[in-house]
């Protein structure tokens, strides 16, 4: 989960990383009370590094221009998103622009420090100039100095830049972050340093012990749900997918696409070893997941693909039957196709067959059947949406 620029800068400020005086603007008229002296930069607070090229950043010299620019930015979608807030920041004229980052690297299984004297907007085209230092053992300041030397810095910049890298690292550790990036780090002709733009990626798994960050993240509209909450991912097609485990969910989506089907959305119930949602509560989660998926009106059929060592096929079938029993009484539901393997498969198939829900043991078959429901316009009578009513009246 990324923080917005102004949130990242607030963290920088707390750590003693230099940032410019700035103010959050929730409405263009807020600019009448601006405490930052002109000239000022107005920046759309959205998640993308390329907002400058898209018109999301404007320089203004006075209040009238500022209000007009703010109105324009508030109404400018960036990658489809409108900003909820702008950041008004003092304008700064850097002599040079550096790139600095601290990230976690899966290959070395260590934090790495990254830096380049060639920072700024076109960083992607200068990747080969970025130097890297792996933090092998417990961090100590010399790792940051090692990066500064690798970046080719000399004299007093070695200590001033490495001191910022050290603060970035300490921020990463103190707040359980995945990434802390400053780009550009402005360098003035006198050697003064200033973080002009920053990016902070919060680690979702650690939010439970980072209460400050959890509050911050909760205020972001696109934030994911809490670690063990269920999350519906919307797509563009007609098939809803309820599946257990990320790998199996991806494989299922791949197979649907391969069979020319289109997924409308999916819910991943998670694997067998989430501490906060053990198999014991899988039945509840199945009902919640089906509810989320079927709220989406574009869903023409639902594929349930549950593979678990913690819960038997029969228990899954019972959860599905109970969902259908309760919900079909209140609303129209799309047809369900269920794929199960493991213990008590036959009892499960029996239970669901009784309420006209087809159950497959083969993943491929379950998928071709589901896709056929959404492509063949005249659905087979026994899968028509109102069938669950049979059970409801039973």
């Amino acid at each position: 989960m990324d923080l917005l620029e102004y949130q990242a800068k607030e963290l920088f400020h707390q750590m003693g990383i230099p940032v410019l005086p700035s103010q959050r603007i929730h409405h263009p008229t807020d600019l009448k009370g601006l405490r930052v002296p002109f000239p000022v930069v107005l920046k759309s607070q959205v998640y993308t590094g390329a907002r400058g090229k898209m018109g999301g950043i404007k320089f203004v010299e006075n209040t009238i221009d500022a209000i007009a620019a703010a109105q324009a930015i508030f109404h400018l979608p960036i990658l489809g998103k409108y900003p909820k807030v702008l950041l008004a920041e003092a304008k700064y004229n850097p002599d040079r622009e550096f790139y600095l980052a601290v990230a976690l690297d899966g290959s070395t299984r260590r934090p790495v420090l990254l830096g380049s004297q060639q920072g700024g907007v076109d960083i992607e085209s200068k990747l080969d100039q970025i130097q890297q230092v792996v933090v092998e053992q417990e961090f100590s300041s010399f790792y940051a100095r090692r990066l500064a030397i690798k970046m080719g810095l000399k004299g007093s910049l070695i200590c001033s830049v490495s001191s910022i890298v050290e603060k970035m690292y300490r921020l990463l550790v103190a707040r359980d972050l995945d990434l802390v990036e400053i780009n550009p780090l402005a360098v003035s002709s006198s050697g003064e340093l200033m973080a002009l733009d920053g990016k902070v990626t919060v680690n979702d798994a650690a939010l439970g012990r980072q209460s400050d960050l959890a509050t911050l993240v909760a205020s972001i509209p696109t934030a994911p749900p809490a670690a063990c909450g269920l999350s519906l991912v919307p797509l563009q097609g007609t098939i809803g997918v309820l599946c257990s485990g990320a790998g199996l969910t991806m494989a299922t989506l791949d197979l649907i696409a391969k069979s020319k089907g289109k997924a409308a959305n999916f819910v991943d119930l998670g694997g067998d070893y989430r501490h906060c949602c053990p198999p014991a509560i899988l039945q509840d989660r199945i009902r919640q997941g089906l509810d989320l998926i079927t709220q989406d009106k574009s869903v023409k059929a639902v594929l349930v693909n549950i593979v678990s060592n913690g819960v038997s096929c029969l228990q899954v079938a019972e959860a599905i039957a109970s969902f259908l029993k309760w919900e079909a009484a209140h609303r129209h539901l799309p047809p369900l196709v269920v794929r199960l393997v493991g213990e008590q498969f036959h009892s499960a198939r029996g239970l669901l067959a009784a309420i006209n829900v087809p159950v497959f043991e083969s993943l491929d078959e379950s998928i071709s059947h589901t896709v056929s429901l959404t492509t063949a316009t005249p659905a087979l009578p026994r899968e028509k949406p109102k069938t669950p009513l049979v059970l409801a009246s039973a």
């Binding site: 790139y99 990230a103 290959s107 299984r109 260590r110 992607e124 790998g247 494989a251 501490h275 913690g310």
Partner: protein, 297 residues
């Protein structure tokens, strides 16, 4: 490495919901679970195994322990692994999902310094069909045989195991290396182990998008492996997640020494192609490719 019935297995977090659920399943499969550790439960028993407050007490009572399986909650994992290492246990199966990655980094530093093998976190663990279950794998999906399976997934691994078993292809060992970005053991490490494992004739590698584990594995296979490998990649059509900023791409690309599209399905498929590794289109196609590899081998 000792994953046999002649080893001693400890379960940390035995009284946690997941621990309590899987301890009897592992015992039923014949896994030599000799003790559980749950602070405050010392002196009690669970499914016939004694419980201790500290790992070192279990070692003191029962002698050296080969493997510990960890089911404790995410924020207690770092401490549990350090406790196991301090008690000189050198094989750790880390089942728990949701461990903060900086904790994983810290526990792996200590594991490397003490030559401790850490499998996971966020893994179904290991099953050696017919012998020993060290994790959450559903035993009925597997059967003994010549196929070594390495996977980053959980339930998808079960799926692949089931496909192989149904096709009459038993498994020598099935290893979930874990679904997290920072992992104790890599595909590469296990490929090296399976290359030297007499029971393994062919290796199935079940990958996912993200990270550079598959790319590095492909290079290693091309350079160093004699046994045939069959691959599968999940996530070819997955919606792109939030990328990890510039640094994410940069780190992966600089280390892998390839393009910055690293982590995508395209990058992984290309890497397998370069290494001449057949890639299954769908899980149900894996047995067929395995059979072909066995026939050629």
């Amino acid at each position: 490495m000792n994953f046999t019935v002649n080893s001693k297995v400890l379960v940390q977090g035995a009284t946690e919901p997941l621990g309590a659920m899987y301890v009897p399943l592992m015992q039923a499969y014949g896994t030599p679970v000799v003790a559980g550790v749950s602070p405050g439960y010392g002196g009690q028993a669970l499914d016939g195994i004694p419980l201790y407050d500290l790992v070192e007490q279990a070692v003191e009572q029962l002698g050296p322990i080969d493997t510990t399986i960890i089911f404790v909650p995410p924020y207690e994992v770092l401490d549990a692994v350090l406790e196991a290492i301090a008690a000189e246990i050198h094989q750790v199966i880390l089942i728990t999902e949701g461990v903060p990655p900086l904790d994983t980094v810290q526990l792996l530093r200590e594991a490397e310094a003490t030559e401790t093998l850490v499998v996971g976190p966020n893994t179904p663990g290991i099953i050696v069909p017919g012998q020993v279950l060290l994790g959450t794998h559903p035993p009925t999906f597997y059967t003994p045989g010549p196929v070594g399976v390495l996977s980053r997934s959980g339930t998808l691994t079960y799926e692949v195991g089931l496909e192989l078993t149904r096709a009459g292809l038993g498994q020598s060992i099935v290893v979930g290396i874990g679904g997290d970005r920072i992992l104790g053991s890599s595909f590469q490490q296990w490929l090296q182990i399976l290359e030297e494992d007499d029971a393994t004739e062919v290796i199935v590698l079940v990958g996912e998008i993200g990270g550079d584990n598959e790319e590095r594995a492909a290079r290693y296979i091309a350079e160093a492996l004699d046994k045939p490998v069959v691959a599968y990649i999940a996530g070819r059509t997955a919606p792109k997640g939030q990328p990890l900023g510039h640094a994410g791409a940069i780190v992966a690309s600089r280390i892998a020494g390839v393009g910055s599209d690293i982590g995508t399905a395209e990058s992984k498929l290309a890497a397998f192609k370069r290494a001449k590794i057949p890639v299954a289109d769908r899980p149900s196609q894996i047995p067929q490719l395995v059979q072909r590899a066995l026939a050629q081998g």
